[in-house]
């Protein structure tokens, strides 16, 4: 705007105060919305911490639960933590290689039409409610042969796959084309260039995507209700049996009449929440680091 316009005879000031008021009001509303979003997280973390703190001790992680306990013998949810470790670990082992290969195919080899189609399919899969994945795996694998940790892991890996694949595609797209050309220009086949030149550039981003995917599925309950929930109280690491998991344990304990069970459920929720917070923050930190590293070139 020219300085002349500010002093010129045509300048209209009559509606300026009203515009300022509207501007301030809208700004305030936006600020309030942001504050509400943060407050919700704060309230959740605070209330879970408050209610779970009393039962948060080493026993929670190391001692199995005791059914119909009449004494005050220490008990915990070791079976659930062991089961979550096994199931999430297996789910990662299933989703990670497939997710990376899907992303490599789409970004490095597929023609644009296939890339767009499959990317959309991944986004839709990402939006499928977890309980639908649970029913799907239940119908596919559980009916007739029973639950197991392995089947639970498969259900979770279906949720992880799109997350891992999309995150990997994002970092592959950041790898400069000049590097691919450098490899191909030497007369090296494309698969070899992808494997030794392109993929090593994306390790940071793949780790990030995987960490975020793990954080997401570690708290999933619905798919596990169908696939790995009919369990005893012993701690088991055998994925061929149904394994207890933290979210399912929280769900079951919350329905118990014993207030001590409620406290343990809150404590387990707190552990899960802290794990997810740490994993998300760690994932974000890794992502920033690998992105600045790649863009620095």
């Amino acid at each position: 705007m020219s300085a002349q316009g500010l002093t010129g005879p045509g300048l209209r000031l009559d509606r300026l105060p009203r515009r300022r008021r509207v501007n301030r009001l809208m700004e305030g509303l936006a600020w309030l919305a942001a504050a509400i979003a943060i407050a919700i997280l704060g309230v959740v973390v605070f209330s879970v911490a408050q209610k779970g703190a009393s039962e948060l001790n080493l026993n929670l992680l190391t001692k199995p639960p005791i059914q119909f306990s009449l004494t005050n013998a220490p008990q915990g949810l070791a079976n659930a933590f062991a089961g979550t470790l096994v199931i999430v670990g297996l789910a990662t082992a299933m989703a990670l290689p497939v997710g990376i290969l899907v992303a490599v195919y789409l970004n490095e080899f597929a023609p644009a039409s296939i890339r767009n189609g499959v990317s959309m399919a991944l986004d839709i899969l990402n939006g499928v409610p977890a309980i639908v994945i649970g029913i799907f795996v239940f119908g596919l694998l559980v009916v007739g042969s029973g639950q197991s940790g392995l089947k639970g892991a498969f259900a979770l890996s279906c949720l992880m796959l799109p997350l891992v694949a999309r995150a990997t595609m994002e970092v592959l797209a950041l790898v400069p084309n000049s590097l691919r050309e450098a490899g191909l220009g030497l007369g090296v086949p494309q698969w070899r260039t992808t494997l030794s030149i392109v993929l090593p550039q994306t390790v940071g981003g793949i780790v990030t995507g995987t960490v975020l995917a793990v954080a997401r599925v570690a708290g999933e309950t619905a798919p596990l209700l169908f696939t790995s929930s009919l369990v005893g109280t012993q701690t088991s690491w055998n994925p061929y049996h149904a394994l207890q998991t933290v979210p399912v344990a929280i769900f079951e304990l919350s329905e118990s009449p014993d207030p001590a069970d409620h406290a343990r459920a809150w404590a387990a929720a707190l552990v899960l929440l802290v794990f997810i917070l740490i994993a998300s923050l760690g994932g974000r930190w890794l992502a920033t680091r690998s992105r600045t590293k790649m863009l620095a070139r």
Partner: protein
């Protein structure tokens, strides 16, 4: 505006050996009626020329005349661009390498390339040269091959004490010479250079030009440059490309004149070449 035709580019003949007579030259590429097309839009139309072995051939012309597109046809680099098609033939030692039955990997194995911007791998200096050698099965005397390539690229003395350092720690000119070392280490037949010095300072440019000069007894160089002095200094043969315009405003690159460098710069046959090399255009 001056009315006399005075070339702005002095053709330096002292540093270059005289070119052998045409009939003694061996043709390495026969380009015949080549059209390069991006999604239906021609970038270069109807190029016919021969590239001779053990010479430096320069391709000059204004921006947008398709020089880079054209040079990338020689090693099928355009295959990577979606929607790119090419008609006509490029025969390499008599064999058409532009057909879909030819494996581009095999073409690139014989015809190496140095790109406009230095693009070293984010690996050590040593590994930048070693990677291609290892992948292509040239593992014998690896260190010797690396030293020889780096020496030829006039980089060895500067990096011999820090081969384990990251290639990204080198200066731009050193990175480009590393890319040249990487390209010649795998012993190609032809080295294509797409404006190899456009991102470099004059000293690094001179280093690259003199290494082309020293290496042309073993390799054939095709170099794209928008720097006419550079073409005059390094090239034996020079091809001038220009932009032609169709009736409906479509633009494409065209080969205007192809001749010995001295001829192009001192006695061009085409008016457009003359306008370009005398600095009246582009």
């Amino acid at each position: 505006m001056s009315t006399t035709i005075e070339p702005t580019v002095r053709v330096e003949t002292t540093r270059r050996q005289p070119m052998p007579p045409r009939e003694r030259l061996e043709t390495i590429f026969h380009v015949d009626g080549l059209d390069a097309i991006y999604s239906g839009k021609p970038a270069v139309k109807d190029v016919t020329m021969e590239v001779y072995k053990n010479l430096v051939t320069a391709i000059i012309g204004p921006s947008g005349c398709g020089k880079s597109t054209y040079i990338r046809c020689f090693n099928r680099m355009n295959d990577l661009i979606p929607g790119f098609t090419q008609t006509g033939t490029i025969r390499y030692h008599g064999q058409d390498i532009s057909g879909s039955n030819i494996d581009p990997v095999a073409v690139r194995r014989n015809i190496g390339m140095v790109f406009q911007r230095p693009n070293p791998f984010p690996k050590s200096i040593h590994d930048n040269v070693a990677w291609g050698l290892k992948v292509l099965g040239m593992r014998d005397d690896l260190d010797e091959r690396i030293e020889r390539a780096l020496t030829r690229a006039a980089l060895w003395d500067e990096v011999k004490d820090r081969l384990k350092a990251s290639a990204l720690s080198l200066s731009g000119g050193q990175q480009q010479r590393l890319c040249i070392a990487r390209a010649i280490a795998v012993e190609p037949d032809v080295v294509l250079m797409d404006e190899p010095a456009s991102a470099l300072d004059p000293i690094a440019t001179q280093a690259i030009e003199s290494l082309m000069h020293d290496l042309k007894s073993e390799y054939t160089f095709v170099i794209v440059t928008h720097n006419m002095q550079q073409a005059a200094r390094v090239a034996d043969m020079t091809a001038f490309f220009s932009i032609s315009q169709g009736d409906e405003g479509q633009r494409w690159g065209e080969l205007i004149e192809y001749d010995a460098t001295e001829k192009i710069f001192t006695a061009p046959s085409d008016k457009r070449t003359e306008d370009y090399v005398t600095g009246r255009f582009g």
